[in-house]
Symmetry: D2
Subunit: 438 residues, 4 copies
């Protein structure tokens, strides 16, 4: 992960700055209500059916009969009702909402396991579409962005490697060498989320093309169709024993994989630059949805506490449970405001200048949501870790977010360093202000 | 502390609600800049002089020669420049700012130990003035509110009693009995902040007048001039060994203290009602200033980390210090947004409806600011607990806020209960939504 | 869970008390070394083979060809070498070690996923054998204890019910009614660990036999052979998506299950009494093994930190990682001493008098071990939650211990209440000792 | 602070090692009972009188009339009863107890503010006496050790400097230059505890004598009588606003202070070596006493919780208070065992080999005791931070221990590094043991 040049005054913002207007826009409001209704009336009942169908499928890496029909019907309905591709701010395509408006909506998407996909807002497609929309050539857009925007195919983002800390984006070993008008790719990626699905057709792949360039110019991003000869899906990797099939988190080998030179995105040596562009909104989308997950966990925690008795009392009134609930509510409201502010910062300042807010939110939200879910689990007893509540699955997802797109520690490093740098200039003045009494 | 009837939908607010517009108003902006300038140019240099003068005074409970002149000059300058009485929202007097605008300004006041007093915004006067402005009779206002608004006298709020948990406001033992047209008061109060100062002239005193009424109707608030015969200042109470003289935290006995019947505020049995009115903004003012204190602590922490070397490195780069700094910054920004939202809620919804936000902020802020100051102390070593940095004093102040106006636990109890109550109605629907897989 | 009458002086123990001699006995020392060697040379290599064989089995609830042969060979070797049934203190059978000696050995067992079973020390058999050894009739012992002690069969402990908080042991709904000389059992149990295995032959089942007796006398424990008609295995329940097949955590229905009257343990209405007997050592065995798990997690954490580079450094030297490692080591040594002390307390005082130590250890250990494993996961990145390190599995196990045999909260409740009760008598003297200065 | 070469097997100790016998010796048992009786019957009543006398003294840096008489009477009684100088293990003088026996006794001393001094076991005299006993010449012993052992004079340890991180002992700027047969000392020390007392006669002073030697050989320790010309007591430094007069924490300047060459301890360039010797037991003595302080805090917390009502209940039963109490008890028992083990390690292995245990205990105990005291404060409300309970004072003391003799961070650094180093050799073997499933 890079060390962005954070403007020294990142936090001494003018308090009447538009940054502090965290209201949803008037135009988004009916959409927001519509989304909530759609989830309740269409997505949630469909998800129940979908899950049932999936239980007995023979091959975990395919869909069960009937599953895709259910899903596609919901997607078609969403598209018809205009609930589609909200995530693309200021897009040429005319689609999308501001990051702030989307933050409100994404928080609702985060309450439902299938809502994002139904409205074509699920990771990693969102980040991939944003990359293609921002840096793709017209041909690349026609071939990949269009079907993605239509929800016809899915995609993956092949960046992480087993043997190198992916928190340091320069650590890429998968190589691409130009032979004639083809790039020849060799290497190995793992935890490539979504690459297991039969619908996943394209891998945006980080490769090292220019080992002699300066560290941030050695990497490139290149489009690799999943069915290219030499792309070998080694297997699915687990997250706390879940394989998340059929999407999965795949271990992939690239064995002399050849793609046309025109599959390069933006240009040789610009992979790191694209990764920065991509990670801002991508990271924050997860955090937006995490707010919704935290709301679900708190709601479940309280409901369990109300419906269960021990020692002659409802659990909720025993021991420190009321304080646990209060602290969860306070954390949720704090996180919500931070997510909204980061989204607004991206809208007002642009992704680059807003980056510090993104790092803060990424370092803050998943860790705290994990804690809230863990407390909900505790309230449920054994049921909390079972397949009969969504909590264990929710925990796995949030726990993984503390590792994905840079572990918490790296985000804290960026935020802390930026604070140090901003203070450094003023260090000389210390003596005066700190002495209370000589 | 009471159990307010929190509206069940307190958190499911319309996201385009004005509540989420946390911008300072245009009109307050120049004031805000003016306040920052005034603190830097006038208050801070004055405070250094003031502290020096105070060191050698013989009687800790009086002012040293020259101190009052310094203070009054700064107050006069502030008043002349219009930096005065910001805290009174929507006041008949025409003074004051919205709670939101004041929140921004109070955060600056919190960075400087004397700024609040210089601009006539210091506790407990602010809360007392608000009470008098809202419920005082014209005569009461003329006698006490006017000199308070002018900064000529100071006041105290005599509520806490030694032998009863003041978190439960009904626990008042100090009695007032009507004899003819006088109330005769007997009892004992402690930790009455500000009552030590020679300038403190009036005590708004919580008494029990109506022991046979329902629990919330037994108490009254009454104006007791400090020089009334029978008002005995027993002594000053410490906060981590500080006496905060001459303001102090006084132990006071009321020995057959007689005041005219007209000194009653609002009416017999309405003491609890007034305390509710008073506590909303009063609690939040402290928290607003705490944000400023946290900023100072973080700034000092980083500067120390930059200016000190150990093991061949600046302290700031050793161990987990960068992460500590990052976490402090994230907490500060979260708390700031929560305080702003609570202030806005009071502006938009009124103190009563906004009360849950106040409880959340009161339970959240002082605890976290204590932690940040504690970490700054750790970075300073022995100097951190000494009189040579402001940190130990700042810690004492924030630590005390975790006890004053209701301990953290009580605020969590209110927030948690409200969450439980809001969920309760929906408990029936649980079965459906929680089952992930049967 | 009961409210034991803790002796008021539980902590004011004579400091030269044998309780504080936490040394392993001389006789156990060679055994301890033998166990470590056996795990390294026999169990660990076998476990690798066993796991490989198990991957491709068609039916998760049976063993794969070759698995049982491997396991039985290791068990036979262990028995031949005298590494068998260590867990039974002061047993009539002549087997077993003191709790203290066993604590040292169990900590080693906890480092290896199959060591306990190989030496016939795995849950829930250990607790079940202890129950049978303590309260079984000669006939019950001959039928069930003997084959369990020989490792020929396995067992389960059917206590938890879906619809009642099992932290309150009186909450048992499964009924047993005497018809002639048979008990007829109806009800439903869940999370019955180990009941999935084809080798599991007997269920020690908690039933309600005496609804009109006082609350602690309504329950009984009864032996239910798993193949009795009417015992229906509904399915396996997950722990963070793991089914732990073939042992499993089974959902079981009892549909008019008939067992002979002689299957009753100890006597009608004595179920609660037996559960108390059983839970002391059973709880502590888990915690002993948890120490070993924590050692593995710390070892893995450090090794990963040494073998991985980011930003030009080994991970271990980045940020606060050295302090995380130090804190883990300090926690492990603290927990180890607490576990040893609790074991010694059971040896010296007996299970009943030592119960407070057991509660303390049960409330302390799994929570802290979870944290250490979680930090190890964080050091591994995505690999940490995958199937390629043991960490996710280890986390699930420890997380479950925070719920099993009483959730943390209940153990804290018992410890805290005991502290309050012990102090209560002395409350009168407070005034004198607490006043520092009047 | 140094980076000791910790033996790689520090934790893989033989479990039947005498290290794990944490029993007090038979010979110390009657002494232990005697000490408890003496504190209750003699010290505590004396301390109440002593405190009263001290309130009105004119000069904080002297004793009030009558104070010394009271104190000396108690000391004489202690000496006469053989309750004297327990702290010197294996001393030539024939005095002292083993570290383990002393740990039990010191925990009792820690419950009473004056017990240590009454039995001549108070810091910094204990560490200073140990240094003199171990490395003093016969003449040095006759002049300083004898009156210290008799309790006739007191001493200070002048190491910390304002402008250098004292966690890195090589950072000493105070210089000593040999002129003829005198050392001439110049420099500045601060936070020199105990140097304010009129009874303090000798300062063991860390100076830099050999700037050209290797880093650990540049410092020396030298005896500086407090009344030597040029020793200037600049003033007393506070700890959370307490000055701890008359002992104090003094700021001292050395202005051309001349002492005879024979005042050098052990030899030029051996200051660092002596500091290591001194810090082992010195650090652990504080931690032993901290256990007693934690016991007092927990006792006060529970008593307050029992004697105070709110919302119709005793505080102790409200919210999470029972769990807070349980966690405090668990922490206390864990810390006690760790302190005992560290003491035993010093007895069995010697100070040097036991150093890692000392670091662990020093990093663990004060931080956790602070938390327990803080929770007790919270239970008391405003009274908790006042002068009317001992809690605020106890907090200051424990908080300071987190900074003194190396801040927590440095101890964690040593423990963490040692763990890393011990693991390093084994890192090669990782691959095999960590892979759970390929």
């Amino acid at each position: 992960m890079s060390q962005p040049q954070i403007p020294a005054n990142a936090f001494s913002l003018d308090p009447s700055d538009p940054l502090n207007d965290l209201r949803m826009s008037e135009k988004a409001k009916p959409l927001y209500e519509h989304v909530k209704r759609f989830i309740k009336e269409t997505v949630d009942p469909m998800a129940v059916e979908y899950e049932k169908l999936g239980r007995n499928r023979a091959d975990r890496w395919s869909y069960a009969p009937g599953q895709l029909e259910l899903l596609d019907a919901a997607k078609a309905k969403a598209k018809a009702e205009g609930l589609w591709n909200f995530f693309l701010p200021d897009a040429e395509t005319g689609e999308g909402l501001s990051n702030l408006d989307y933050a409100y909506i994404a928080s609702e998407l985060g309450k439902s396991p299938m809502a994002s996909e139904c409205m074509n807002c699920s990771a990693p497609d969102t980040g991939n579409m944003e990359v293609l929309e921002r840096v793709g050539t017209p041909a690349q857009k026609a071939q990949w962005l269009e079907p993605l925007l239509k929800g016809e195919i899915r995609s993956a983002y092949a960046m992480t490697e087993l043997h190198h800390a992916s928190s340091d984006a320069r650590n890429v070993a998968t190589s691409a060498v130009l032979e004639g008008d083809e790039w020849v790719i060799n290497g190995e990626k793992h935890y490539i989320s979504g690459a297991g699905s039969p619908r996943c057709k394209i891998l945006i792949t980080m490769v090292r093309t220019s080992p002699d360039a300066p560290p941030h110019k050695q990497q490139s991003m290149i489009l690799v169709p999943k069915d290219t000869p030499g792309v070998e899906i080694v297997g699915g990797q687990h997250v706390f024993a879940e394989d998340h099939a059929p999407h999965g988190h795949m271990h992939i080998r690239f064995n002399n994989v050849r793609v046309p030179a025109s599959n390069m995105l933006l240009g040789e040596g610009r992979g790191f630059e694209i990764s920065q562009l991509r990670l801002g909104p991508g990271r924050i989308h997860h955090c937006m949805r995490s707010i919704g997950a935290a709301e679900v966990a708190l709601d479940l925690m309280v409901k369990r506490g109300l419906s269960r008795q021990a020692f002659g009392k409802q659990l909720v009134w025993l021991g420190g449970n009321v304080e646990i609930i209060s602290r969860a509510r306070i954390e949720i409201e704090s996180m919500r405001l931070m997510v909204l502010k980061a989204a607004k910062a991206m809208d007002v300042l642009g992704n680059k200048e807003a980056r510090l807010w993104v790092h803060m939110v990424k370092a803050m939200v998943p860790e705290r949501v994990c804690k809230i879910i863990d407390q909900a689990i505790q309230m449920y007893g054994a049921l909390g870790v079972s397949q009969h509540t969504p909590l264990a699955h929710m925990y796995s997802q949030q726990r993984t977010l503390r590792l994905a797109d840079g572990p918490d520690e790296v985000h804290h490093m960026v935020v802390g360093r930026s604070e140090v740098r901003a203070t450094e200039g003023a260090a000389e003045e210390m003596q005066g202000s700190m002495v209370w009494r000589s």
